[in-house]
Symmetry: C2
């Protein structure tokens, strides 16, 4: 299946939109790159893409380092494929503040299904942009949705605030845990325990798995009752053990969202997250950019440094000068 490669020039956003809507992989890839680069053409493209969404299911997969998250995502993709569903995967990588790019490109990741036409992997950097935190995740989900994937899986490494934010785009959040990961991890676990709709206790063959399961049960008991009790699925991702149960749990959660009417709330949360990103783009980033150009940013920093002014006063002046 040969595709016309998307080229630069007039009407690039129309061209890309058309390509994406008819399911051309090169057009999708090119569009994602444009969005990542913050290119001007991306803005016009996205304004159309957001009106052409098809309602893919978005699953977020998060968890501490070392729990086998990538293997779980691989397994999930396999299970979705065996159900005949096409899958787009977005892996959000920690960004190098130096290079500005994703540390782990798609190349160095061990991925299966790479020759499957119905699966598409993409790494995204959580850029160290002024005020803009992985803003692109929502846009890339929209692109993959308009392209027509049945399932979109968003995977994040780590458990900082950025991961919590990214999970706002997911209808179902799978938190992957492993037995006995040390004390520090307890904190991480606690931080992400409350965003999980499904818990996946991976490496369930390790000693201490049962104890960790009970710990999770106990923490879940502390959660407010909400009508959905997150199941804990024991997996051994490297053997495939428990993966179909995991997909069943994800599907049950979806059915619950639909039957309870909560799906709408999830969509609202995702729209709010993307709106937030665009508000930041139009305000904070715009102010910083103009203030850099006319030297008022430098003056503000000098005033802060000398103790002549305070951040609130400086920020107010910059907003007044550059936004109103």
């Amino acid at each position: 299946m040969r595709e016309t490669s998307p080229t630069r020039g007039a009407g690039i956003s129309d061209q890309l939109l058309e390509g994406i809507l008819r399911g051309s992989r090169p057009h999708l890839a090119r569009a994602i790159s444009l969005v990542e680069d913050g290119a001007g053409e991306a803005v016009r493209l996205l304004s159309h893409v957001y009106k052409r969404r098809r309602m893919a299911s978005v699953v977020g997969v998060t968890g501490s380092p070392g729990v086998g998250k990538s293997t779980i995502v691989n397994g999930l993709v396999g299970e979705f494929r065996s159900l005949g569903r096409s899958v787009g995967v977005i892996a959000v990588d920690p960004t190098s503040p130096f290079s500005g790019g994703a540390i782990l490109g798609d190349r160095v990741r061990l991925r299966t299904h790479t020759t499957d036409d119905m699966v598409y992997w993409r790494s995204l950097a959580t850029r160290g942009h002024l005020g803009g935190l992985s803003r692109h995740t929502g846009d890339v989900i929209a692109l993959m949705d308009a392209y027509g994937f049945d399932e979109i899986v968003v995977e994040t490494v780590g458990a900082g605030q950025s991961e919590v934010d990214i999970m706002k785009y997911a209808e179902t959040v799978v938190v992957v845990l492993a037995p006995n990961l040390g004390d520090d991890v307890q904190a991480i676990k606690a931080g992400i325990l409350e965003i999980g709709d499904v818990f996946c206790l991976n490496k369930a063959d390790l000693p201490g798995a049962e104890r960790t399961r009970r710990d999770i049960e106990m923490m879940l008991n502390l959660r407010e009752e909400s009508g959905w009790r997150p199941p804990i699925v024991m997996t051994q991702a490297h053997t495939g053990e428990g993966l179909s149960e995991l997909v069943n749990a994800v599907n049950s959660h979806r059915e619950y969202l639909v039957s309870s009417g909560l799906l709408e709330q999830k969509a609202r949360q995702s729209h709010l997250a993307i709106l937030n990103e665009y508000l930041s783009l139009l305000t904070v980033e715009k102010v910083l950019e103009s203030a850099q150009v006319d030297g008022s940013l430098e003056r503000a920093l000098k005033d802060l440094s000398s103790g002549n002014s305070d951040p609130l006063t400086c920020a107010s002046e910059l907003v007044k000068r550059h936004l109103t």
Copy 2:
């Protein structure tokens, strides 16, 4: 030493400022709580506090979960104390989006030096606030600085974008690593390797330590030459092994910052970070708040949900309506 407890009422910010400047611990504690709560009184207080900074040294300590970061921070505090320096510690915890509070309060952390008058521990939540990401860290550093601590240590769990952002407030960033933490951790390491001024390879008695040290050396070789070659200090924090070398490395980095003139750049970076937080407060958060009040946020979310509009158009309209 009895202190008058700071009370609510008129002039609370003046009262707190006065208390902080004369070194009253209850006033500092109360002020930090006000800032965390986003109380109105905090704004006025902070505008004065930022003009009364004393230039404490700020050390950031970050690293993946399970590497023994808390033990390292404990050890650092002990070393600083043995040099006669007072220390304020800010532990930035992952936040529960449900409770809005820090998961690990000061109480559940195992801390030494808790009865030492010259050491103060404080946990801060990285709140899941709309658009506001651990905004308070910079403010709390300013409070501790005005109070008069010689050293301020900021400790973060995890290695997401939020941690990278928080590290902008530190003059010296210590990245704590441990041998053989699995593949996922390589990504984290890569993400934080580039922000480290000093590397601390903890649990140096574990097998594989030497190999991990060589791996770090190799990755450091890939960094652009900048005049400072980050040292790798091998520690066994639970025995105290290597801790004084760690403090020496931190001090060497400071001397380098001063002699190279880079200290000013670091201060600039920190001022930019705090300015960024305040810009977000005055724009994104303000828009979202007013838009919630007059119903325009709800209308925007409805338009996004129905595909009648796109995020950029919605965000532009909200900014126009509520900021200009």
